[in-house]
């Protein structure tokens, strides 16, 4: 790891000012992704701005919404009684990610900003458009078992690795940010982006925009949620595919439902067509199966990841069955 300067800041404004002033600086929160990438030489900021002293750790109700500060630790959110009671899907997704040691360090903001785990991105001897635009995508015709089946481009077929974000996408969260031009709120589905022609850009933040927190609107899903994560070993691995399912049941009928997938696209992938199909229908395996088929229309494999085309619909059905207590 090359050396760097290090400063601490105490307010969001100071954090933004310090980053805008210095083109080679980067914020550091838990460091679990950034320090790793710096050790590998994937990124080499010449100055780190430590934002851990910012007062952005709170988890609380604000009106009907649940508000979580950007520096709340992944373990604190997962273990929060408020989160477990009101938004259990979020707690389930966090518990499925990383390890307790990493969750004790990782923050909500850092989790959203974590880079892809594409092995070509991580290996500086390999070509990668995300790391070095114009180099070509090593995964496209290479070993692409972990890669996207939705929304990829021939510039990049990487997936976003976060579990937490899949739950937040399903729950219609919003992201609060503050930057040089003021503050704004971004719908979660517009936060991460598809690779298109600019695979180096993971999300829609402008340089200097700091995530201050997320808000989740109230919902009626708390009784029937499930986060299903399919991976190569039963824990401490990134998802091959994952499904966040939240259902609002009225007797045996589905009044409302939210579905999102991880491990399949450059961003958390919301399954709107499947949701619309299921609304008002009975919670039967046949209906879940039809919804899953709708969900994977347009999916495309790249060779090693063709198995996801089968695994994804199966995972959707399983997640729905477990969410409504029928598995």
């Amino acid at each position: 790891m090359i050396n760097f300067e290090y400063i601490r800041v105490a307010t969001a404004k100071a954090a933004v000012d310090a980053l805008v002033k210095d083109g080679v600086a980067q914020w550091i929160a838990g460091g679990t992704n950034l320090v790793d990438l710096m050790k590998k030489g994937v990124t080499a900021p010449q100055k780190l701005i430590d934002i851990n002293n910012l007062a952005l750790k709170e988890i609380k109700k604000e009106g009907s919404k649940l508000r979580i500060g950007a520096l709340a630790l992944n373990s604190a959110v997962a273990d929060s009684e408020l989160v477990q009671k009101e938004q259990p899907l979020l707690a389930q997704a966090l518990q499925a990610g990383a390890s307790q040691q990493i969750r004790n360090m990782a923050t909500v903001g850092g989790n959203m900003m974590q880079r892809t785990r594409c092995p070509y991105f991580y290996n500086t001897d390999m070509p990668c458009n995300k790391r070095q635009p114009g180099q070509g995508c090593g995964a496209l015709k290479g070993y692409n078992r972990m890669h996207a089946i939705f929304g990829a481009s021939d510039k990049c077929i990487a997936v976003h690795p976060s579990d937490m974000c899949v739950a937040l996408a399903a729950l219609d969260a919003t992201v609060q940010v503050t930057g040089p031009k003021g503050s704004r709120s971004i719908p979660f589905l517009s936060f991460h982006r598809l690779p298109g022609e600019l695979p180096q850009k993971d999300n829609t933040l402008e340089r200097g925009e700091l995530i201050t927190g997320i808000e989740i609107p109230q919902n009626a899903f708390a009784k029937s949620t499930h986060y299903l994560k399919v991976r190569d070993r039963s824990s401490y691995a990134f998802a091959l595919v994952s499904v966040a399912a939240a259902v609002d049941m009225q007797r045996n009928a589905i009044r409302d439902v939210r579905l999102a997938m991880g491990g399949v696209a450059h961003k958390p992938w919301r399954l709107t067509a499947a949701e619309n199909f299921l609304k008002g229908k009975e919670a039967t395996e046949a209906n879940f199966g039809q919804a899953a088929q709708l969900a994977i229309q347009g999916a495309k494999g790249y060779g090693h990841n063709n198995f996801k085309l089968k695994l994804a619909p199966n995972a959707i059905v399983e997640a729905l069955k477990t969410a409504v207590g029928k598995s």
């Binding site: 090359i2 050396n3 679990t32 590998k40 030489g41 430590d50 990383a98 307790q100 040691q101």
Partner: protein, 213 residues
């Protein structure tokens, strides 16, 4: 990262004083590096590493490790793991993968288990760190250490300090309610020798014993 020989606290403050000339040298080289395009800096890194490091400003750090307060002067890129092992000669904490994937480097910071290989030492200012060396009370082993011996919770022993630090935290957090829960919450600690069944037994035993740990 440069490997220094473990010597007892070479960087405690009061070491070689930094004169004004040293400082001037530092700032000019910093400016030179800052002016280079990042890629070039990276390419030059391999050769420049040792030399350039000396010119970068070291930062003061005050941190408590196993009850002893250390006032140090460190490079920002020093990880907590390297600080413990290379500068404080506390080699009980192991370096396995150095990338957050194995748990061998697990320590407690302000009572929480974290990975010291992904923690920057400068970010531990004012914090209390506990390592495997800080568990025993004189000749009396910590109950978790006793339990690992009793249940044969290791073979080669390389992962063991991390397992023990993690196991203690697992109980304190209230995540040791069943063998399944222990397995899930210990999943960040990999054991190449596969001592898992006995590790789970050791943790479950300490939990059952109900001692304050």
């Amino acid at each position: 990262m440069p490997h220094k020989k473990p010597a007892p606290n070479p960087n405690e403050e009061g070491g070689p004083a930094q004169g004004r000339r040293d400082f001037l040298k530092q700032s000019s080289l910093l400016a030179a590096i800052a002016a280079m395009p990042p890629l070039l800096v990276k390419a030059a890194d391999a050769q420049l590493d040792e030399k350039a490091a000396a010119y970068f400003e070291k930062l003061p750090l005050s941190v408590e490790v196993n009850g002893v307060t250390h006032r140090l002067s460190i490079e920002p890129r020093t990880t907590l793991l390297d600080l413990l092992r290379e500068q404080l000669a506390l080699t009980g904490t192991k370096k396995g993968c150095d990338h957050g994937q194995c748990g061998a480097c697990t320590v407690h910071v302000d009572g929480q288990r974290v990975l010291s290989c992904l923690s920057l030492a400068v970010m531990q200012e004012g914090k209390k760190v506990t390592t495997i060396e800080g568990l025993a009370n004189g000749e009396n082993l910590h109950p978790m250490q006793e339990a690992f011996i009793k249940h044969d919770g290791f073979q080669c022993g390389y992962c063991t300090p991390g397992q023990i630090m993690s196991g203690i935290a697992c109980i304190r957090e209230g995540h040791a309610g069943s063998d399944d829960e222990i397995r899930e919450y210990m999943s960040g600690n990999i054991c190449r020798c596969g001592a898992y069944p006995n590790i789970v037994k050791a943790i479950a035993d300490v939990k059952k014993g109900g001692q304050r740990i």
